[in-house]
C-alpha cells in the first residue's frame, strides 16, 4: 500500500508547517473550536477552516490564566496558542456549545488577538423558530465574512463548498463501512487519525488522499485481527495513544461517538434546497454532542451504531471537567445496560498514564470474551 494511515498522521502532525506554507501563498486561514462551526460558509469565502486542537506536552502558560477545574483539552489548546503556534491564523469562529469554550474564547480574544473573532449562538431546540433564528445567526456570520473579505459570498460558492464537504463526508462514511466486516479492514486508531487530519487541511486535498487510500485498502493484508468489537464515546482525544492502548488490549474499535470521529462527518448537507438554509438544517439536526438537547437523540445514535457495526462493548472516555459529557453519563450508562450493552468508563486528564487504563480495558475485554463463550 502506497497510502497508509501514517500519511494522514503526517498531515496532522505537520499541520503548522502546512499553515505557514498556506500563508506564504497569500491565503487566509480561520481557526474553529468545535464541530458545530458551519465550515462551509468560511470555506465559501475562500478562507481555510482549521480546527484548533491541543498537543501532548504539559501546559505552562495557560495555567496563569485558568483555574484548575477547566477541561484539559481546552487548557492545552489555549497553551499551544499562548506559545505562539497559531500566530498565522487570521481569525476565529466558534459556537456557544459549552461554557468553557465560550469563556476561553473570550480569553483568547485578549491574548491571541486576531483580525476576526466571531461567536455563533446555537438554539437548544430544532423548532421552526429555532431554525429561523439560527439561519439569521448564519446570515450574520456570512455578512461579517463578506465585510472582512470585501466580496460577496454567492449561493454558487456556498453550493460548491457543500459539494466539497459532502464528498469528503461520504468518503469517510465509506471508510467507516470498512469496519463493519469481520475482521474490520481498518483499525479504530487509523479511522480516527484519518478523520482528525481532515480537520486541518483543505477538504479537496484530503479527499484526494482518501480516495487513493480507499482504492488500495481493499488489497491490504496487514489488517487488524478479529477481536472484541468496541465503540468508544467521548469528545476530543488528543492523545491517540489512548485508542492504541485499547486496541492493544484485545479490542478493536469498530465505531465511535466522538467529536473527533463520526459526529464530525456523519451527516451531509441537503443539496436540493437553498444552500444557507440547507447548512443551517444540517448543523441543527446533525448527530448530537452532549452540548445539544436532548441526550435521547445521542443515545439513539449510539444504539444505531451498535447494531450497524455489531458492537460488543462501549468504552466512554471522558475528559476530566467536561461537564456536558459527565451530565449525560449516568443516563447513557443506565440505558445502555438496560439494552444489554456492557459499558466501561474511563476518565482521562491531560497526559494520562496508559498503564492503569490498559489494565482496566484488559479486564473489561476479558469479561466480554467470557460472555461470548
Amino acid at each position: 500500500m502506497k497510502t497508509s494511515a501514517s500519511s494522514f498522521r503526517q498531515l496532522y502532525q505537520n499541520r503548522n508547517d502546512f499553515l505557514k506554507n498556506w500563508k506564504k501563498q497569500g491565503k487566509k486561514v480561520f481557526g474553529y473550536f468545535c464541530t458545530y462551526t458551519p465550515e462551509e460558509i468560511i470555506y465559501a469565502s475562500g478562507i481555510l477552516p482549521f480546527r484548533i486542537t491541543a498537543d501532548t506536552v504539559s501546559t505552562t502558560l495557560a495555567d496563569a490564566h485558568l483555574p484548575d477545574f477547566i477541561c484539559p483539552f481546552t487548557r492545552s489548546c489555549f497553551d499551544v496558542a499562548l506559545r505562539g503556534e497559531y500566530k498565522d491564523i487570521d481569525g476565529y469562529v466558534s459556537t456557544y456549545t459549552c461554557d468553557t469554550i465560550r469563556n476561553v474564547l473570550w480569553l483568547w480574544n485578549r491574548y491571541i488577538p486576531a483580525q476576526f473573532m466571531h461567536l455563533i449562538s446555537f438554539p437548544s431546540g430544532t423548532t421552526e423558530k429555532a431554525f429561523d433564528f439560527f439561519l439569521k445567526e448564519l446570515l450574520r456570520l456570512k455578512g461579517r465574512l463578506e465585510e472582512f473579505c470585501g466580496m460577496d459570498i454567492s449561493n454558487q460558492s456556498l453550493s460548491k463548498a457543500i459539494k466539497v464537504y459532502n464528498e469528503n463526508r461520504m468518503l469517510l462514511r465509506k471508510l467507516y463501512d470498512l469496519r463493519k466486516g469481520n475482521p474490520p479492514l481498518i483499525s479504530g486508531t487509523e479511522a480516527v487519525e484519518i478523520v482528525r487530519s481532515s480537520m486541518v487541511v483543505p477538504k479537496e486535498e484530503h479527499t484526494t488522499l482518501l480516495k487513493q487510500f480507499m482504492s488500495e485498502v481493499k488489497d491490504r493484508t496487514d489488517f487488524p485481527e478479529e477481536r472484541v468489537r468496541m465503540l468508544v464515546s467521548g469528545s476530543f482525544i488528543q492523545d491517540i495513544g489512548l485508542l492504541q492502548t485499547i486496541e492493544n488490549s484485545g479490542g478493536t474499535i469498530v465505531a465511535d461517538d466522538l467529536c473527533l470521529g463520526s459526529r464530525y462527518f456523519w451527516d451531509r448537507v441537503d443539496v436540493n434546497s437553498e444552500p444557507l438554509k440547507a447548512i443551517a438544517k444540517r448543523y441543527l439536526s446533525r448527530v448530537k454532542c452532549p452540548c445539544r438537547h436532548p441526550p435521547e437523540d445521542r443515545l439513539d445514535y449510539i444504539m444505531k451504531m451498535i447494531k450497524e457495526f455489531k458492537v460488543e462493548g462501549v468504552i466512554f472516555i471522558l475528559q476530566k471537567f467536561c461537564d456536558t459529557h459527565f451530565f449525560d453519563y449516568p443516563f447513557m450508562e443506565e440505558k445502555l445496560k438496560e439494552n444489554g450493552v456492557p459499558v466501561l468508563f474511563i476518565e482521562v486528564a491531560h497526559l494520562t498514564p496508559m498503564g492503569p487504563i490498559k489494565t482496566r480495558v484488559e479486564a473489561f475485554i476479558e469479561m466480554l470474551t467470557e460472555m461470548k463463550t
Binding site: T100, N103, S121, K129, R140, P290, D323, F326, F327
Partner: protein, 425 residues
C-alpha cells in the same frame, strides 16, 4: 415602629448583625416554601425554574415557581448539603459537576431536607442565560420526573440584535400558549401589565439601594444584599419585593441620616466577586470584625435594576433576561461602551468591576474562585489583574458555593490575615 423596637434594631446594626429588616427574609423564605407545598396540595401547578427565568409571566399565569438553585444554596447555608452531594455522586454524578446540581439531584434521590423539601414539579422550565449547565441539569430532572420540560433559548451572541429579541419574545409567546393549554387559564393582559409595573418598581428600589451603598460608612452590607436578593429571584412581578424593599430602603435611609454603617468602625471598603460560599457566610462577619465592609458585588448588581416598560411587557422581559441588565448598565455608564460588539463578556465584566471599584471607593477586593461556576470563575484572573492595575489589593481564595468539602477554613483564614496586612500598609 415603637421606640423600644427601633432601639433594638439599632443595637443589632451597631453590633454588626446586619439590617433589622433583612431578618424578615427568613419568614418570606419559609412562607415561599410553605405556600408552594400548599399550592401543590391544592392542585395548583408547580414549576421548577432556573433563576433568571421570566417569573413575572409565571405569576400572571398562576403557576407556582420554585427555584432549585436557591434551594441548594439554602441547604448549604444550614450545612444540610453534604448528604445530598454524596447521594448524587453515588448515582454517578461526578464530584466535579456544579454543586447546585449535585445537591439538587441528591435531594431528588433522597427526599427530605429543610423546609420540607421542594414540592414535586408539574412542569420544568429552564432559561438558557447564565450557563449551559442548567440545560443539562433540567434534562436530568426531566428523566426523574417525567413531566413536561420547556427551554427558553437565550441568544448569547449578537444579543442586542432585533432578531435575537424577537426570537426570545416568540418563545415567551409559545411558552404562554403552552401554559394556557396546560392550565386552561388565558393570559390576562391587564395582570401582565401590573406584574411588569411591579417588576419595574422593584428594579427602581434595588437600584436606589445599590446607590445608597456608596455612602461612607456603608449602610447595607453583602449579607443584606445576598439575603434581600431572595425576594427578587423568587417573587419579582408580585408585590412582595416592592413592599419588602421599601422597608429596607426606609431603614437604610435612617441609617444614613444617623451616620451608621453595617460594620462598626468601617476602616476598609471591599468588593466581592463570584457567588459566595453559602455554607460559610460567617466569613462576612469575620471581615467585619477586622473592620471591613463588603460594599459592592457584581453578582448583586446585574439584572435586578432592569427597568421595565409596561407598554411592551414581553419585550421588557426579553431585554431583562437576555442582556441580564446590561441595557440599563449601559445607560448608566455610557462611557464604558458596553454594547460595543467587539467587547466580549470578559471585557464587559472587567470594565464594570473596575467601575464599581471606583464608584464605591473600595480599598480592596476579594475573589472567590468558585469551582462550581465556570462562567464566573474562568475570567477571575482577568478581573484580578484589572483591579490590581488600579492599585487595589486583591485576595483570591479557592472554594465552592455549596460543597464545603472543597473549602479549607485554615487556608482561607491565613490568606485573609495576609490580605489585611497588605490593606493596612
Amino acid at each position: 415602629m415603637t421606640e423600644a423596637k427601633r432601639a433594638e434594631a439599632r443595637a443589632r446594626v451597631l453590633a454588626g448583625k446586619g439590617l433589622q429588616t433583612s431578618r424578615d427574609v427568613r419568614e418570606i423564605v419559609a412562607q415561599h416554601y410553605y405556600d408552594a407545598h400548599n399550592a401543590k396540595n391544592g392542585g395548583k401547578p408547580v414549576a421548577w425554574v432556573t433563576a433568571l427565568s421570566p417569573v413575572e409571566l409565571l405569576y400572571v399565569m398562576d403557576i407556582i415557581p420554585v427555584f432549585p438553585e436557591n434551594y441548594s444554596a439554602a441547604c448549604a447555608a444550614i450545612q444540610a448539603a453534604p448528604p445530598f452531594l454524596e447521594a448524587a455522586e453515588s448515582k454517578g454524578y461526578s464530584r466535579d459537576l456544579c454543586s447546585y446540581v449535585r445537591c439538587n439531584i441528591g435531594h431528588v434521590i433522597k427526599g427530605g431536607g429543610p423546609l420540607d423539601g421542594l414540592p414535586k414539579p408539574d412542569l420544568l422550565l429552564a432559561t438558557g442565560n447564565v450557563c449551559y449547565t442548567r440545560v443539562k441539569w433540567w434534562e436530568v430532572l426531566s428523566h426523574y420526573f417525567k413531566c413536561p420540560l420547556f427551554f427558553i433559548d437565550v441568544p448569547t451572541a449578537g444579543e442586542y440584535s432585533d432578531y435575537a429579541m424577537k426570537y426570545f419574545v416568540s418563545q415567551l409567546e409559545d411558552f404562554t400558549t403552552f401554559l394556557e393549554k396546560q392550565t386552561g387559564n388565558r393570559l390576562d393582559e391587564k395582570r401582565l401589565k401590573e406584574a411588569i409595573e411591579l417588576s419595574d418598581q422593584a428594579a427602581m428600589l434595588w437600584n436606589e439601594l445599590m446607590e445608597y451603598r456608596k455612602t461612607i460608612p456603608c449602610p447595607m452590607g453583602m449579607w443584606d444584599a445576598l439575603t434581600d436578593m431572595f425576594v427578587l429571584v423568587t417573587y419579582v412581578g408580585t408585590k412582595i419585593p416592592v413592599v419588602f424593599l421599601e422597608k429596607i430602603r426606609d431603614e437604610v435611609k435612617d441609617l444614613i441620616k444617623e451616620g451608621i454603617g453595617v460594620t462598626p468602625n468601617e476602616k476598609y471598603r471591599l468588593l466581592f466577586d463570584n457567588i459566595p460560599p453559602w455554607f460559610n457566610l460567617r466569613l462576612i462577619k469575620h471581615f467585619q470584625n477586622l473592620g471591613a465592609s463588603f460594599v459592592v458585588e457584581p453578582y448583586t448588581q446585574f439584572v435586578w435594576s432592569s427597568r421595565m416598560d409596561t407598554s411592551k411587557p414581553l419585550h421588557s422581559l426579553a431585554v431583562k433576561y437576555v442582556t441580564l441588565g446590561l441595557v440599563d448598565l449601559d445607560k448608566k455608564y455610557p462611557h464604558l461602551k458596553l454594547k460595543d460588539p467587539n467587547k466580549t463578556g470578559f471585557d464587559i465584566r472587567a470594565a464594570l468591576t473596575v467601575e464599581f471599584a471606583k464608584e464605591y471607593k473600595v480599598d480592596g477586593a476579594v475573589i472567590h474562585w468558585n469551582k462550581s461556576c465556570k462562567p464566573m470563575s474562568i475570567g477571575e484572573m482577568e478581573i484580578r489583574n484589572a483591579l490590581q492595575e488600579l492599585g487595589i489589593p486583591v485576595l483570591v481564595f479557592e472554594g465552592d458555593m455549596v460543597d464545603e468539602r472543597l473549602y479549607s477554613d485554615e487556608q482561607v483564614n491565613a490568606r485573609i490575615d495576609a490580605f489585611f496586612e497588605m490593606l493596612g500598609r
